[in-house]
C-alpha cells in the first residue's frame, strides 16, 4: 500500500495534514497526539512581526460549524524560528510554514527568512484570511494580486509553494489557474467562508470584528464543490480543506480531486483525531483492493447513482 505523495521532489509520508491555525505550531498537544503519524503540519499563519490578534470575542459556535476572528494572532517569524522550530526537530512529518502578510514585500521577507531552514519543508501562502483588515482579503479576491504574490515567491524558493485560496469569490478556478500559471506547486482549497452571528439579547455581533470565518462540517459541501471546480481547472495538486473530521470525509475529498487533505476545526474537538485518518484510509483502500491511496484522487465516477436509499433493506 502506497500512502505517500510527492510535491516538487518532497515526499510526504501520507496525505493527511493539519490545517493552518488549528494546530498551533505543532508543540501544544504532544501529550495526546503524535505528529509522526501525519503527512505534515501546516503552521499557524506567520507574519513578519508578532501579532496580538483581534479583541475578544473571537469565537462563536454555529450549527455544525464555528466562526472565528482570530486576526492572525501569531508569535511572528523570528520567535517561530527560535522557539518553535527546534521542537519540531526529529518529527517525521513535514513542516509547511504558512505565511500571512499585509504587503507583497512582507510575504517575500518572511519566506526569505524561512527558506534556508532545513526543518521548513515548504510554504503555504495565506492570501485569503477574511478577518484581518490590512491582511489577506484584498489579495485573495484579486486574481492579479494572487498572480503577483505567487510569482514573487516562486522566484525566492525551490521548496514546495502552495497557495491557499479563499472560497469567497465567484470562480475559484480563476485564482487556481493564476497560481498555477506563476509556478505554484499546489493550491489549498478552501480557507474559511465569511459569516456572522448576532446575540439577539444584547444585539451585539458575536465576534468583535462583526464578520469572521466560518469553518467545520457545515461548510464541507461547499468545500467539496470548490475542490472539484479547482481540480477540473488545474493540473497541479489540490489540498482539500473544509469540514473534514472522519476518514470518510477525507476520502470524499480525494474522490472529488484533492491529492491530500487538511484537517482544521476537527482538531479542536479531537486533537488526536487527524492522526488516526491515514491508517483508516489505508484500511478502506485495502478493503477495496486499492493499492495506492493516490488512485482515489479524482476517482469520482461521472454518473450518479439511482435515487434509492436502500441501506435499510
Amino acid at each position: 500500500m502506497n500512502e505517500t505523495f510527492a510535491l516538487r521532489g518532497l515526499t510526504f509520508r501520507n496525505r493527511v495534514f493539519v490545517a493552518s491555525g488549528t494546530f498551533g505550531y505543532g508543540d501544544e498537544v504532544s501529550d495526546v497526539a503524535s505528529l509522526d503519524l501525519l503527512g505534515g503540519i501546516v503552521t499557524k499563519s506567520l507574519s513578519l512581526r508578532p501579532r496580538d490578534g483581534n479583541p475578544p470575542p473571537r469565537i462563536a459556535e454555529t450549527s455544525s460549524g464555528m466562526l472565528n476572528s482570530i486576526g492572525l494572532a501569531n508569535i511572528g517569524v523570528e520567535r517561530f524560528v527560535a522557539e518553535k522550530l527546534p521542537k519540531l526537530d526529529g518529527r517525521r512529518c513535514a513542516v509547511i510554514a504558512n505565511i500571512a502578510a499585509s504587503s507583497v514585500e512582507e510575504y517575500c521577507t518572511v519566506l526569505e527568512m524561512l527558506d534556508p531552514l532545513s526543518r521548513v519543508d515548504g510554504f503555504e501562502i495565506n492570501v485569503s484570511c477574511p478577518n484581518v483588515k490590512e491582511g489577506g482579503l484584498s489579495f485573495g479576491t484579486d486574481v492579479s494580486k494572487v498572480s503577483l504574490i505567487t510569482k514573487e515567491l516562486r522566484r525566492r524558493t525551490r521548496k514546495p509553494l502552495i497557495v491557499k485560496l479563499t472560497p469567497n469569490v465567484t470562480h475559484i478556478a480563476e485564482f487556481a489557474r493564476a497560481a498555477e500559471g506563476e509556478g505554484a506547486d499546489a493550491v489549498s482549497v478552501i480557507n474559511t467562508l465569511i459569516g456572522m452571528a448576532i446575540n439577539i439579547y444584547t444585539r451585539r455581533p458575536k465576534l468583535s470584528t462583526v464578520t469572521g470565518g466560518l469553518s467545520g462540517p457545515a461548510i464541507k459541501p461547499i468545500a467539496l464543490a470548490k475542490v472539484f471546480e479547482t481540480y477540473k481547472a488545474v493540473k497541479i495538486p489540490v489540498f482539500g480543506i473544509g469540514g473534514i473530521s472522519t476518514w470518510e470525509d477525507a476520502i470524499e475529498f480525494l474522490l472529488a480531486g484533492a491529492s491530500a487533505v487538511q484537517v482544521g476545526t476537527a482538531n479542536f474537538v479531537d486533537p488526536a483525531g487527524a492522526m488516526k485518518l491515514p491508517q483508516e484510509i489505508v484500511r478502506f483502500c485495502e478493503s477495496r483492493s486499492v493499492r495506492d491511496v493516490g488512485d482515489l484522487v479524482g476517482g469520482m465516477k461521472g454518473e450518479p447513482g439511482v435515487s434509492v436509499i436502500q441501506s435499510w433493506l
Binding site: D31, P55, P56, R58, A73, F268, P271
Partner: protein, 257 residues
C-alpha cells in the same frame, strides 16, 4: 502536567439544585493530575451534543472520581444531563496552567468567594488547601432557591433579595466581614459573574488583599490551539493572554475584565 484524552465512564448524574446537575465520571489519570481551578473539556461520546466540546471546572476529586457541576443552559449541557451511568464521556483534561495558588506561605486565610454556579471549583479547592490555613466561604445568589451549597455547607450566604442569609451581594457580605475581624494575611479565591469579580477586584485593591479569579470565555479548543480565548493583560508585554492556557485562574491585577 500531562493532558489526558479519554472516554471516561459516567458514574452518576444527579440533579443537585433547580436545573443544576452534578456529573461524576471515573478517570484515575485525570484525578491524579488535576489542580484546583483547572477544567475539563467534554463532549458526549455518541455525538448527540453540539460540535464543540464544553469546558467545566473540576468541582471535586475523590479517588478516581472527578465531578463537574453545571446548569442546563443549551444543547451541550442538556446532552450531558441526559447521560446515564456507564456511558462514555469524552473528556480532555485537566486543562489550564493558571490554577489557584494554595501551597505558599504568603497567606494564612483563604477567603473563598463564589457567585451563582461559581461554586463549581470550590469543593476541590477546599479539599486541596494545605493544613493550617483558615478558610471562610462566601456564597452569593439571586435568591434562596438558587443557592447551591454542594460541599460548601459551612458557607456564609448572601442573596440579592434577602431570601436567605445576608441581604445584598456576596461582595458586600465579604466587606462587612473584613471590617473588625482580624483575618491574618488573607487571600481571595473567586469565581462568579463578571460584575461580582469586578467589584471584588475593587475591594481587594482597596484593602490590599491578593485576589485570584477564575475567568471564562468562549473556547473552541481549550488547549491553546485556536487562539480563540484571549483576555487582555494589564501589564506590559503581550496584549492578550489565553484563558484556556494561561488561565483560567489569574491574579486579578494582571488582566483586564
Amino acid at each position: 502536567m500531562a493532558m489526558i484524552l479519554e472516554q471516561a465512564p459516567v458514574r452518576t448524574v444527579t440533579e443537585v439544585g433547580s436545573n443544576v446537575f452534578q456529573l461524576t465520571f471515573s478517570s484515575l489519570a485525570i484525578a491524579r493530575e488535576a489542580l484546583p481551578g483547572q477544567f475539563v473539556n467534554v463532549k458526549t461520546v455518541d455525538g448527540s451534543g453540539p460540535l464543540l466540546r464544553r469546558p467545566f471546572s473540576i468541582s471535586s476529586v475523590r479517588d478516581d472520581e472527578v465531578s463537574i457541576l453545571f446548569n442546563v443552559i443549551g444543547s451541550g449541557t442538556k446532552a450531558l444531563s441526559l447521560m446515564r451511568k456507564g456511558e462514555g464521556l469524552d473528556v480532555l483534561g485537566p486543562l489550564g496552567k493558571g490554577t489557584f495558588p494554595l501551597d505558599d506561605d504568603a497567606y494564612e486565610t483563604a477567603l473563598i468567594v463564589a457567585g451563582g454556579l461559581g461554586v463549581a471549583p470550590m469543593p476541590f479547592l477546599r479539599a486541596s488547601m494545605p493544613r493550617g490555613k483558615k478558610q471562610f466561604v462566601f456564597l452569593g445568589a439571586r435568591s434562596a432557591s438558587q443557592v447551591v451549597t454542594v460541599g460548601l455547607e459551612d458557607a456564609q450566604v448572601a442573596t440579592d433579595d434577602g431570601s436567605k442569609g445576608f441581604h445584598g451581594t456576596v461582595v458586600d457580605l465579604l466587606r462587612n466581614t473584613l471590617v473588625g475581624n482580624d483575618l491574618g494575611h488573607p487571600r481571595i479565591f473567586a469565581c462568579g459573574p463578571l460584575p461580582m469579580l469586578r467589584s471584588l477586584r475593587e475591594l481587594s485593591e482597596a484593602k490590599n488583599i491578593e485576589c485570584y479569579v477564575a475567568l471564562e470565555c468562549e473556547m473552541a479548543c481549550g488547549i491553546g490551539l485556536c487562539q480563540g480565548c484571549p483576555v487582555e493583560s494589564s501589564g506590559p508585554g503581550k496584549k492578550y493572554r489565553l484563558v484556556c492556557n494561561e488561565g483560567p485562574v489569574f491574579n486579578a491585577l494582571t488582566v483586564v475584565f
